[in-house]
């Protein structure tokens, strides 16, 4: 379960950063919110990159499923990217209501996405990828930079 454990851990780190952003917005601490949001954005986008350029191609090559689960995940990544830019805009305007509202949407969207990955896709990757490929994919992902 090395893939599941590694990726799941990244999800949790992103959740923590996002929760801190949300809390700072609620308190009106805009500078702190900006810092946490930047950290969240970087972590999330790097995580997406690891999936889209590392894990998903390995899974697709191994299973031959290129229009299945990974395609759905890519589509949902796009939705999150779109929401990140909207939220950055709201934070820039220091619009508390809009920021919290977008944060709520983001949280639900990301959580349902993460659940699909954690309960299904990562488990499928752990099951279908041969051990050496799993190791090399994991190492490649760890060395990726944004």
């Amino acid at each position: 379960m090395i893939i599941t454990n590694y990726m799941k851990n990244e999800h949790r780190e992103c959740d923590t950063l996002f929760a801190k952003t949300e809390e700072a917005i609620a308190e009106g601490a805009w500078e702190v919110a900006d810092q946490h949001f930047l950290a969240f954005t970087n972590e999330t986008l790097l995580h997406f990159k690891k999936e889209e350029e590392g894990l998903f191609p390995a899974f697709e090559a191994q299973t031959g499923m290129s229009q299945g689960p990974t395609q759905v995940m890519r589509y949902e990544h796009e939705q999150v990217r779109n929401l990140i830019s909207k939220m950055a805009e709201a934070l820039g305007k220091k619009d508390k209501d809009a920021s919290l509202s977008l944060a709520e949407s983001m949280m639900i969207l990301i959580q349902q996405h993460n659940m699909k990955e954690e309960q299904m896709l990562y488990a499928m990757c752990d099951r279908t990828l041969p051990p050496e490929l799993k190791e090399s994919t994991l190492e490649a992902m760890k060395s990726m930079l944004l």
């Binding site: 299945g68 759905v72 659940m115 299904m120």
Partner: protein, 428 residues
Amino acid sequence: MFSQNGLSLDQAPPLSVIFRFFFLGSLFGILAGVLLFFYQTEIFDASSTAALTFTHLLTLGVMLSFMFAALFQMLPVIAGITLTSPVRRANLLIYPFALGSITLLLGFNFPTLSWLYTLSAFLLGVSLLGTIIPMLSDLLKLQNHSFSSKGMAAALLSLVFVVLLALYLLASLSGYVDGSYYVPVKAAHYSFGLFGWIALLIISISFQVIEMFYVTPPYPKIVSMYLPVGILFLLLGSTITAFFIPDIWILSEILLALLLSAYALLTLKRLTQRKRPLTDATVWFWRMGLSSLILSMLSILILNFTELSLLKPLSYIFFTSFALSIVFAMFYKIVPFLTWFHLNSQGYFSAPLMHEIIHPKTAKKHLYIHLATIITFIASLFFSPFIFLAAALTILSFGWISYQIIHAHFLYKKTQKSGEKFDMGSMN
């Protein structure tokens, strides 16, 4: 699961399907409030027509409608099931269901017109079983089950029993069968309805949504794996045993009360462990619902050892508070999120934000109304004129929900009509 991504727009059921069930449920709620002006505190006498009508208005009319709204939405998200032709399915269910429910309520109040029972049995039997059985069959065919989807299957199976047992009861009332098993069947109908259907569905959905909406640690595996199945087997075992030993329900109720209280305490603890420190109205709705469940189960437990007559109506009020509070909590997450999500996914720049659809302050106001409603119901046990206030507050509470649905619906339509749209096709 992935070929059917529930929250991708092409697979999610149309918003109108979800909205119409929520709306129907709130109309039944308003009707319950209106009838309360006439029935008054007679609803607390379990053997009265008033209690029978009021209970079915809440469980069948309100709860089942709301839960169908949740099911149509949650089955794709939680279980990855795509409901084919959701609009057609919803229409085939909602009209006979609404008509059948009204006919049943009339039947309770005009028992000499036994054709009302026959008609309601036909309408409710066909529409409910015709919807639940395909849903259940889809769930059972799933290759990759989550704890939630397994629990939902157990809850739907309970609902099948509720309906089948109700059909026997109606056949007895209409004179088609002699009704020699009326008493044990009624006990099973009641227990499967409250514990097997309502409580089990809420529990199963909570395994997923508590973690998803509030970012909490997951439930311990032993709970999510065994609790729904445990409740279902307990109910099945008790139903069969009750034909020989009717008092078995006393033991089952004690066990169920302990299991549900443990679940409620665990969920309350999970809510204190959430990563998102912000507390919105929905967290309070959950807390109120779970505390009510504990109080209801406590009343049931004590009732087995005392003769205190007040405990029975108290257990009903708290159980109602449990079910409604959690349904409201779900409502205030589902309706704004889905409205935003559908419009956003359709590419509308001007898609209203969740807070513009239903503002957290609006949900908080409803929380106070709901809390006041429950308190006045309890107060009416001690000073009966409070029931009039409870009736008015019930109307206000469900009127409030109806208004939110209408508001969200019009906002959705308005954006679709006049909103500037981004051409998603140009991205590809």
